[in-house]
Amino acid sequence: MTPDAAAWDALRLSLWVAVWATVLVVPLALWVAWVLARREFWGKALLNAAVHLPLVLPPVVTGYLLLMAFGRTAPFGRALEAVGLQLAFHWSGAVLAAMIMGFPLMVRAMRLAIEAVDPKLEEAASSLGAPRWSVFARVTLPLILPGILAGTVMGFAKAMGEFGATITFVANIPGQTQTLPSAIWSALQIPGGESQAVIMVVMATAVAISAVLLSELLARRVAARIAGT
């Protein structure tokens, strides 16, 4: 029992999409988490609700909304296509879908980490003459690193497993937009496709477990450094 070409393609595409989605969304998630944790402003509850929307909406609805906004005839879609970027029915659309679906998970983890940092430490840093950006880079960031890692892994795992919004927005074209979950679903629709489905299930599980183990390892290192052992 060996993976066929379609299974390898799907794994490669899923990793590719998940890595891109994670890399692109981490800075944004960190910024939004920071704003939600530290700033008071009008409409904060609204922003918080918007961030969590993908978590509570049926993924198919998110995918459909993406299609309405970024489809080839939709306003954003047309504007982006004018600059040569097509999202609908393209792997880059899968990246966008994965970003949106993973976003709330990342923001939650990072926000908790930021809220756990004592602002008095930041005050102390600024009292020593550190400008605001240095305070963030040298004090806040190292202290929230475990939270960032946790959020990143969750976002990555979500991106690897995202199905509903992806299949609605970019369809299920083998070799182009067929991610691992889509491929598993397809394999299960074909008589005799079950053995390939099982192989891909093993692949997905292996990636997920490795991601969690890696983040645990990194988080433990950070924690050990803070405890001074």
Partner: protein, 362 residues
């Protein structure tokens, strides 16, 4: 170096209205918890924007609410030592110290890394993580970190309040070295412990209910009978200077004050050293004639200066002893019975006297 500030800030339950000046040396801000001391530190450090106010250090305006001037904390070049040390938990002791040094203004004068490590005795701690340090060690590191940022002034917000007696004794000598040493760094020192202030301060500012009640040189304010209720009747008492002239083999040392000699046990300072003596008002007994057959030998001839009746049955008596001033707390009835009036010559019996160890140096 001078600091001049006036602040007005409304809190939920009281309003802070404060104006004070701090020059060289240690200026202590004393008040009970909730008197507004920390607010002053926070405003000077830039961690709080008061409703109204103006803060000037040397000739630089750090805050002027009328003109909309607010210099952010990192541009103020003031070192702050907080009550809770606030060491960065992810950095070692050495890295915490380097953090201070990193942001010292370019070309600024001030102690180097090795100087600070030696001054504060941090050699053994450099590789340790803050989580493994004792409270006293943490405060020493926090102090070193602030010194390395080459501040023009140190702000200290109850740096010893979270420490027990022995840990306090571990830090106090370093603060004295800082005051007397070549750094000559001015310090704004907030505390609600009279013993710390008696030992360290050059200038004393008393705060109560959000406003300044008294300010001036430490020896003057501590000897002011009006300050007794502010300091607390048990804590009030003059601080005088004395020279150590002999150590007896029985553990009793002889010290010279301007009005004579006194004998005290447990004096650590070496012969010739000048020390501060804290004479609690409630430990000074007055006698019209020179007493005989007393177990206490510390008797000074004094002159009654002023009599300050309190709200209760007590009265605070300001005394002159040579060129020094003492405070005595007696009952109003005793004032009448002894016929105490300003100018009266009498004798003060010092029941107990605390030596603030360490030299005064100026």
């Amino acid at each position: 170096m001078t600091l001049s500030l006036s602040l007005s800030h409304r809190f939920a339950d009281f309003t802070l209205e404060i104006a004070l000046d701090a020059g060289p040396g240690i200026t202590a801000l004393f008040g009970r918890s909730g008197a507004g001391k920390t607010t002053v530190i926070n405003a000077v450090g830039g961690f709080l924007r008061p409703d109204q106010g103006r803060i000037v250090v040397d000739d630089e305006v750090l805050l002027d609410t009328d003109q909309g001037i607010f210099v952010p904390p990192h541009k103020r070049h003031l070192g702050t030592v907080f009550q809770d040390a606030r060491l960065f938990p992810h950095l070692s002791v050495a890295q915490n110290l380097m953090f201070g040094a990193r942001y010292a203004p370019r070309g600024s004068a001030g102690p180097g890394f090795d100087d600070v490590v030696a001054l504060l005795g941090l050699e053994e701690l450099l590789g340790r993580a803050p989580a493994t340090l004792s409270g006293g060690q943490r405060q020493r590191v926090a102090l070193g970190r602030a010194l390395l940022s080459h501040p023009r002034m140190l702000l200290m917000d109850e740096p010893l309040a979270s420490l027990d007696g022995p840990r306090k004794q571990e830090i106090l000598p370093f603060l004295e070295r800082l005051r007397d040493g070549p750094l000559g760094l001015p310090i704004l020192y907030v505390s609600h412990a009279v013993d710390e202030i008696a030992r360290l301060a050059d200038t004393l500012v008393l705060i109560q209910n959000g406003s300044v009640q008294a300010q001036g040189p430490l020896f003057d304010v501590m000897a002011d009978p009006a300050a007794v209720p502010l300091l607390g009747v048990r804590e009030a008492g003059a601080v005088i200077e004395a020279d150590v002239i002999a150590h007896g083999t029985d553990g009793i040392s002889t010290l010279r004050v301007s009005a004579g000699e006194i004998e005290l046990p447990g004096v650590q300072a070496s012969i010739g050293a000048r020390v501060r003596l804290r004479v609690l008002a409630q430990d000074v007994i007055l006698s019209l004639s020179r007493p005989k057959g007393l177990s206490s030998v510390n008797v000074l001839a004094v002159t009654v200066d002023t009599i300050h009746p309190g709200d209760g049955p007590g009265a605070a008596i300001a005394l002159r002893a040579g060129s020094d001033r003492l405070l005595s707390r007696v009952t109003a009835r005793a004032v009448a019975e002894l016929g105490l009036v300003p100018g009266l010559q009498c004798y003060a019996i010092l029941k107990a006297t605390t030596v603030a160890p360490g030299s005064i140096g100026r």
